[in-house]
Amino acid sequence: MSRGYKRKLEDLTMEELEKALRSVGYIPDRKLVVTLYLAIRLGKPLLLEGEPGCGKTELAKALAKALDTELIRLQCYEGIEASQAIYDWDYARQLITIRLLESTRDAENIEKTIYSERYLIKGPLLKAVTHEGEKPPVLLIDEIDRADEEFEAFLLEFLGEFQVTIPELGTFRAKTRPIVIITSNRTREISDGLRRRCLYLYVSYPDREREVEIVLSKVNGAPRRLVEEAVEVVNRIRSQKGIVKKPGISETIDWVRSLVELGHRSITRENLESTMSCIVKSREDAEKLDINYVLGEKQ
């Protein structure tokens, strides 16, 4: 039984959005709720930037669950091409069909057959545009900063019109605009053109209280005191100078989960040292980590 928002999206209020997100275990802050609500209302993509592990991707997943709609994910990577994002023809099937129909010698019919939707492999963007459900899907374009600039330029066109043109079949236009969430870890600067087309929010680490709340909602059976101590330690690691890969919320959750699994009730030097790999993920950072400082002990 889904716990998502059942009514029409037009009736959604900001308070209901926040409640729906909380009901699926995502604890948003006020800024995020207002911006997300506006993105849904104005039909604009939402560009989320911030440190890795701050819950950007998780937001799209939670939103789809909260609104009881489909999540369509486009994971960007270096070298991704438009054909992987929109569509590609199923060449193997097309070849088999050509062979089977060869004897008919009806070129026009063969062409019509092999260039039909049956032989189309839909990419995430085309899936989002041709979505048939009552509610618009959530389209997550994840880690856009990993894709090349050419791909970003191509996305500009898509986000402007929400339509996809396939020369052999014509133009597909979205009946209801998908809710688009774009995430970036800022490993490179996103173009001004893309920024202009989106609503923007920089997601930083949550304050201590909210992080405690998030961890408690994600890790079943975690004692509050342990979570508070863990959050305190993680915050100290983030504030230590020279640490390059700062632990995100997901690392805090993993760490607390590990501590609970190992049966620890509080954080000691031994616990921290034995489970450090959950929160410090590079050799250089591990070497630099000042354990006395992060445990709040005097030298």
Partner: protein, 366 residues
Amino acid sequence: MTGDRENLAELVVDFARVLREAGVKCSIPEVIDAFNAVLYMGLNDLEKLREALRSTLVKDPEHYKVFEEVFEYFWEGRGKPRQGLQARRFMVRIVSERDLDPVSRFLNVYSPLEVSWKNRIARMDTGSGKRREISRTVRTYLRLLALEASRRRILRAKGEESLRYSMKRSLKTFGEIVKIARTTKKRVKARLVIVADVSGSMSDEWEWLYELLAAVKKLPSGRYEVFLFSTRLFRATELLETHTRLEEALHVIMNEFMYWGGGTRIGEALETLVKEYPGILKKKTGVLIVSDGWDLGDLEKLEKSLAEIKRRVGHMAWITPHASKPGFAPATSCLQIALNYVDALLPKEALENPRLLATLLQRWEN
């Protein structure tokens, strides 16, 4: 109701204009978005109004602080906008000068050593350096960075057999595979960014820097970027590319920009690099910062900027001319901070010997 809408539209446009004057770029479509957002949020709840305007008009977290100041001033914290152009201008001036104390402003424009530098450059012997060695080493450095191939595949006669491409091609010949297509992974060529300190404390290294710039100038256009800094950062790439002779390019830089010598403000220079030239800092980029690390600037800015550069580029090395001297230790605060972020702290000799460079970078490669 129409009157209310018009008033609201005027307010939003006015706010966006003030924001623009304070240095935040916001286009007309963004202002329209802001207006629509404010229509949803209304003016009663100041926090909602703040988020509505911020998410639609400000697309760079670096501008959040300016936005807050403009917002507080414009809406006076009571949901009512402040009126009057004069007051607005005054506020904009505060925003634009807020980070600069009188001493900073003085240091930013005054450089007592520039005149002596010009004389020195005029007398310098520029023909007897280690240009060839540096040139070879720089190319080796770029090759080391370019080892990693992209996931994108391109057709190439000597590549691996690709069934997918072969089938795609065969559609042109009615399903008949006439020739097996071959592909290889596309190699992305690495770019080099030199950020060189030309302040007074580097005066002993001028000849060497000259040779480095001459070697970099030999690289194909588009493969390198050169920035020079003392108290300000200056992008010298275009001048180097457009002048056939390096001497001429440097002459123009010195005459027109009155730039050489003076104090060092590495933090401010790197901050400018990150803010003004974000498109240059990419994964396939190697950044070489050439400086002795004697800094008069803001160390916090230095740390923040180094962390940002480190996050964005493939490799970052700090070349210090003193590293090969006996008894050298990176004792200055600047180098202490740099050690936390750079992939390698190298002596200048590393750029004169490809093998030495490869050995010194071995740890990074592993």
